[in-house]
């Protein structure tokens, strides 16, 4: 049996009166890539954002249930969100670099966590950019604005930024939806590389992508987790008709 990194137990989530997650229980295995798939609006992003407590910003969001990151009770009121988010990084659907230089983007997370040693920061910038397969393209432009990079480069920069704080888990919400096929291929390659060190959870609408990169796949429908299993099983021998219809492209 795999080691479980994140354990989601009977999670309910309401936005005001609308229930968006219904009794979701899911194990995220350590060191693997788990893909979350499902039709638009079924709650994939909402589930993902529960893991690093991004719903804290939304006064309308109410969560109940339990999410454990190893021994840490994520949803507990006493949990330090800043520490939590250092352990669980996030890459967003659209690249969102800060209006700062490339190097400053990567070192941002370390700086706000109190690291100011120039040499260590420079090292971290290089290592993270290498990890995000971006170093060779930008090594001479570290002081240039991150906003001048192409979309694909920006997304890899955002991955480097997340990697720099050395989280344990990286969440990616449709990280390739704004990218061209070549950039997408690069990011997918990167995910497989990152898997060696991190636990990854990705949301994707791209069935091929889920099959190419993920070890496990969870299928959601209207706020419920319908089925979860090894990726090959979900795509080839789904247990539920809903899953079968979805992965075969009958709705979505």
């Amino acid at each position: 049996m795999e080691k479980i990194k994140i354990d989601i137990q009977e999670l309910d989530l309401f936005f005001d009166k609308k229930q968006v997650l219904k009794n979701v229980s899911l194990h995220i295995p350590a060191g693997k890539i788990t893909a979350i798939i499902g039709p638009s609006g079924c709650g994939k992003s909402t589930l993902l954002r529960s893991l690093n407590r991004m719903h804290d910003l939304n006064p309308q969001a109410r969560l109940s249930g339990k999410i454990m990151l190893d021994e840490l009770n994520i949803l507990h009121g006493n949990t330090n969100v800043v520490h939590l988010r250092r352990r669980i990084g996030m890459v967003f659907q659209k690249p969102n670099p800060f209006p700062k230089s490339i190097a400053e983007n990567v070192s941002y997370g370390l700086k706000i966590n109190g690291l100011h040693d120039k040499k260590k920061l420079a090292e971290a910038v290089e290592n993270s950019l290498r990890a995000a397969a971006l170093w060779d393209e930008v090594k001479d432009d570290l002081d240039k604005s991150a906003l001048d990079l192409s979309g694909g480069q920006q997304q890899r920069l955002c991955i480097a930024r997340a990697v720099a704080v050395e989280p344990e888990v990286i969440l990616m919400d449709e990280p390739c939806s704004a990218l061209d096929p070549i950039s997408t291929a690069k990011v997918e390659e990167l995910m497989l590389e990152l898997k060696k060190k991190y636990t990854l959870v990705i949301v994707t609408h791209n069935m091929q992508q889920a099959q190419r990169v993920s070890d496990f796949t969870a299928f959601m429908y209207l706020g419920e987790l319908i089925e979860v299993g090894e990726t090959r099983q979900i795509f080839q021998k789904p247990q539920h008709d809903l899953t079968k219809n979805y992965v075969e492209g009958h709705f979505g």
């Binding site: 800043v82 520490h83 209006p99 997370g109 706000i112």
Partner: protein, 285 residues
């Protein structure tokens, strides 16, 4: 075919409107320059008025306007930006804050003479500043405050949510996010707002009229508790209150020209600062 004609017609109308505006501006500027430029000289800019303001220069007025404008900016900018940050980032969105917002918008439309009277009541008398550079600076600051708050709030609103979430997801606190990501992103907008407010303040007469401006003063203000001369007021005196209005008319034109140049320079600075900042951010992408 018909749509094309309509489009051309619309185009022509808009070009005509633009030309009218530019023409009016051009005539004013040309008239001012033609009548003011001959008087404009190094002496005019650097000397005090002499012989009952019929000769000499306007240096004390230039100095006074610069000083009072800078002072008002120094007071209003931190206050305005702080207020906008609070309203936009921290205050809950409820009936009360909406009322505050509406009041601030309305304050921006209050005639400047009202600010002047308020300044007399509060700063000059109640707070005992007397008629002084400080009291006038406070009054002018108050006048520019609403527009600084409104433009700053607008600039904060334009910072994408995704940018904020990027910082939060890396473990930044709310304040760290605001300080390190939101404010830098909003800065060009804030800067433009501040400088536009400032250049409006520089041309105002009513708010400083009772709060500190002097009819004539041979010396520069030695401290913020002294009275001062100012360009708009000096201009007002030269063109309506002087005992030899016809005689000093060229001086009045030159004063007006100086005031316009000063404001123009301020706006140019805003433009330059904004362009520079945006270039360092990667030029509007």
């Amino acid at each position: 075919m018909k749509r094309k004609i309509i489009q051309i017609l619309g185009m022509a109308l808009m070009i005509a409107a633009t030309l009218v505006v530019v023409a009016i501006l051009g005539v004013v500027l040309f008239d001012l320059t033609a009548k003011g430029a001959p008087v404009l000289s190094w002496e005019f800019l650097t000397q005090s008025p002499k012989k009952g303001m019929t000769e000499g220069g306007i240096f004390p007025a230039i100095f006074g306007t610069t000083a009072v404008t800078l002072l008002s900016t120094m007071l209003a900018t931190p206050l305005g930006i702080g207020c906008a940050i609070f309203l936009h980032e921290y205050a809950p969105d409820n009936a009360f804050t909406r009322l505050i917002r509406a009041s601030i918008r309305n304050l921006a439309g209050v005639p400047s003479i009202v600010y002047g009277l308020f300044g007399v009541a509060i700063f000059v008398q109640f707070l005992g500043m007397g008629a002084s550079l400080l009291a006038a600076g406070c009054t002018l600051g108050l006048l520019t405050l609403p527009s600084i708050i409104t433009t700053t709030e607008e600039a904060l609103r334009n910072v994408p949510r995704l940018t904020r979430e990027g910082a939060l997801a890396l473990g930044a606190t709310k304040w760290e996010t605001i300080r390190t990501v939101v404010l830098p992103s909003a800065l060009p907008g804030i800067l433009t707002g501040v400088i536009l407010a400032l250049s409006r303040g520089a041309g105002e007469t009513a708010p400083i009229l009772f709060t500190g401006v002097a009819f004539y003063s041979r010396y520069l203000p030695g401290s913020v508790f002294d009275e001062f001369m100012a360009l708009p007021y000096h201009l007002y005196i030269l063109s309506t209150q002087h005992h030899a209005i016809e005689e000093v008319r060229p001086l009045a034109y030159a004063t007006a020209l100086t005031l316009i140049l000063l404001v123009f320079m301020l706006n140019l600075t805003a433009f330059w600062a904004r362009a520079r900042w945006q270039r360092s951010l990667g030029a509007g992408k």
